[in-house]
Symmetry: C2
Subunit: 219 residues, 2 copies
DNA sequence: GAAGAACCGTACCGTACGGTACCTATTCCG
DNA sequence: CGGAATAGGTACCGTACGGTACGGTTCTTC
């Protein structure tokens, strides 16, 4: 993550610094620890400024999500055709990145926050998280899957379905478990590898790959 | 779900009624709506009784989880050998049940509650939910999978891994999306069907089944 | 039928939060 | 240089919650 260049056009540097501090408080203490007074104290700003900038507490939370997402940029360097090995490599990298993102402190804290609020604000934060937060990573995955199909390495009749299958294979119930407080995996790489193997078996076209994977999965 | 017979030995009928009312409040308004005063008013009991029975608010929440789980009983009628079709049938039923449970009002509300608290109570509620809430359904799934293997219909080298694969195929990111406020699927049955197809392709042994499914998945 | 426990309803206390008002200091700009 | 805008510091208000205390009421039990 870049250090300070994350000054999205939406926020002044000062506001960004305050939002970063707000995220820090949220991560270390949960939403209970994120009070307007506490944030003002920790960020050396006044409550009045907070209310001027963000309206109210909900506005602050929304700004935090928006701010955090402005820092997430996914390198999407899979443009043209791919070899079998390259596809597998890209899928594995994607899976590892996905697991890493989901297990991140800030991601978990924001998801917990949105989930906690979802019952009383009409899921406003949840919608933000889903629509803006995952758009980037979804797009990257879809591009990868589409490229795989165009290269004749994958076959499916619904890209969305294929993506959800892949997501499920990679994440399983890990995300919810981590949200509930469990620690993550010891080895994301291995999980990514297995998920990709299974996914290629389900949707790959390369017979050698399929057979090889099949044999190994039955080992 | 049985109406009133759910009087676990741990709670008196009166306490059970109060806990049921607490769950109702939680479902309809989130944790913010579940105040001790509000519960006392809604359940026609006194706050003093609440504190006498459950200790403090956290004790009440824990009791709610325990109470709800005492109502969930999974019929586990898969004892002996299975045919291919019977296995598929059982897997589909399980998958549908799983999706239905996860999408249930009370389940979602309790998971939201536990996730919201996880950052400030050392994940006590989260642990309860994972260890006691899922034990039943996990056991049922594992029994099913083991039976499949003993019947020569499934192959894998790690039952846990196979179960997680199946879980991922069935649920994907649906659970988190619903926790964030999205509505569930229109058709759980179809999702269950597709997940079972994929799972059998990955871990089934029946060649006919495998080929048939393979063909259909590439349709 | 009386003693006693369990329980209800309510009133109360301390606290902590969201939000507002007011005043001061710094910076920006003509 | 001077006035306006911006932002920090602080004190304050209303509210609502968790938790406690107490008097009155119902239910049990002998």
């Amino acid at each position: 993550m870049p250090a300070d260049t994350a000054t999205s056009a939406k926020f002044t540097p000062r506001q960004s610094a305050v939002l970063a501090e707000a995220l820090r408080l949220l991560v270390e203490g949960g939403d209970k620890a994120l009070t307007t007074s506490g944030l003002a104290r920790a960020a050396n700003c006044s409550k009045e400024s907070l209310y001027k900038w963000f309206g109210d507490r909900d506005g602050l939370l929304a700004a935090m999500i928006s701010f955090q997402q402005s820092k997430v940029r996914t390198a999407d360097r899979s443009g043209e055709r791919l070899s079998t090995d390259a596809l597998r490599e890209h899928l594995e990298i994607f899976a590892r990145d996905l697991l890493e993102v989901l297990a991140g402190d800030v991601s978990l804290a924001l998801n917990r926050l949105a989930i906690g609020q979802s019952s009383r604000d009409g899921s406003k934060l949840g919608k933000m998280l889903l629509e803006h937060g995952r758009r980037e990573i979804d797009r990257r995955a879809r591009a990868l899957i589409d490229t795989g199909k165009r290269s004749g390495l994958l076959r499916f009749h619904d890209a969305d379905e294929a993506y959800h299958t892949f997501y499920g294979l990679v994440v399983s119930d890990l995300h919810v478990r981590m949200l509930l407080g469990e620690s993550g995996l010891k080895d994301n790489g291995r999980q990514a590898q297995k998920a990709v193997e299974a996914f290629l078996l389900l949707h790959g076209t390369n017979k050698d790959t399929v057979e090889a994977v099949r044999a190994s999965s039955a080992r």
